[in-house]
């Protein structure tokens, strides 16, 4: 129970701090800022529990982790929640074409929508070019002489997904 309390508690506290920071100013590299905030909280909670866990348990009556296994469990709970949130957050940063299509059809009402009407939002400027810019921003690609090339980080990502798609017996995707 102690690991759930502290692991999920640290995540919730860091989530509210992230909300407050985002209200003040949206960071340019949002994923990096999120990771920094959330992992700092995990580190701070682990240090706090190590230094004054006993006193917290005595004064507040809350359970505290005791063994190295407890601390590992706490960290695992916290990290799994952070990763889940990070992956959900990536869906918030960029508009998903499938979700935009679903909303557009629903907004059209009972008369439905003709395929030609999708052209208003389906174009390369909205669906592809921002994602190319994301590759530059995330340092997965760079430009030289008007051509885009992968950085070592981009190469690593490409190899990982090519390997995994082959392992699953799937095609190119996208």
């Amino acid at each position: 129970m102690a690991t759930l309390f502290w692991g999920a508690g640290a995540f919730l506290a860091s989530f509210f701090v992230h909300l407050a920071v985002w209200r003040v100013k949206l960071p340019q590299r949002q994923t990096r800022a999120l990771l920094l905030i959330m992992f700092s909280f995990l580190g701070a909670v682990m240090i706090l529990l190590q230094l004054c866990g006993g006193a917290i348990a005595m004064r507040c009556g809350v359970p505290i982790p005791v063994t190295p296994g407890d601390y590992l469990h706490l960290a695992l709970i916290n990290i799994s929640l952070i990763l889940s949130y990070m992956i959900t957050y990536s869906a918030l940063e960029a508009d998903s074409p499938s979700l935009v299509i679903a909303m557009t059809v629903a907004d059209a009402g009972p008369g439905g929508i003709a395929e030609a009407d999708f052209n208003a939002f389906v174009n390369d400027d909205k669906l592809v070019k921002p994602r190319i810019n994301d590759l530059l921003l995330d340092k997965m690609a760079y430009t030289a002489g008007g051509r885009y090339r992968l950085t070592s980080k981009g190469l690593m990502f490409a190899r990982l997904f090519i390997f995994y798609r082959a392992l699953l017996g799937r095609g190119k995707g996208g």
Partner: protein, 159 residues
């Protein structure tokens, strides 16, 4: 709690991944393989946790790891960034923007998504017009839009 026992959700994830790969390679649909993997990984987590106070924590942790794995697979299936990275990977000399758009463009994206949404009944095509079918994707879209408003303060990246 021992260190080995703390790693139970990771063991569940390993079972999940193994079963998902086997089912996917056996020709099952991607979604079915994900469900099969998740259920298979959940079984040892529940069994070894037992009906103890740690069960909710293990289920939460395993659920979160399973959710991450599902999205990792989904990234390879649908993410535009990953597709772009793959296109660049096959061209070591690099690609200009025009060349990228020739290989992967908004028309491809729309065609693939329409096929998926029509295929799983989320959209219905009748007399050349699209209508909402099953509500799952629409519900997800509404949830994501609400979260965007709450967290980022806008409905779309283009606002």
């Amino acid at each position: 709690m021992s260190i080995i026992s703390a790693l139970l959700p990771v063991l569940g994830l390993l079972v999940n991944v193994s079963v998902q790969i086997v089912v996917s390679r056996a020709g099952g649909s991607l979604l079915r393989s994900v469900f099969a993997g998740f259920a298979a990984g959940l079984a040892p987590v529940v069994y070894f946790s037992g009906l103890t106070a740690r069960l909710p924590a293990d289920i939460l942790c395993y659920g979160a790891l399973g959710y991450c794995y599902f999205h990792f697979i989904n990234l390879g299936e649908t993410a535009r960034r990953i597709r772009l990275v793959r296109e660049l990977y096959t061209s070591p000399e690099g690609l200009s923007e025009t060349e990228i758009l020739r290989r992967y463009n908004s028309r491809d994206i729309l065609t693939a998504r329409m096929a998926r949404l029509l295929g799983n009944g989320q959209l219905i095509l009748r007399d050349g017009r699209y209508f909402t079918g099953k509500p799952a994707v629409l519900l997800m879209a509404k949830t994501i839009t609400s979260l965007k408003l709450l967290i980022i303060g806008k409905k779309s990246e283009f606002e």
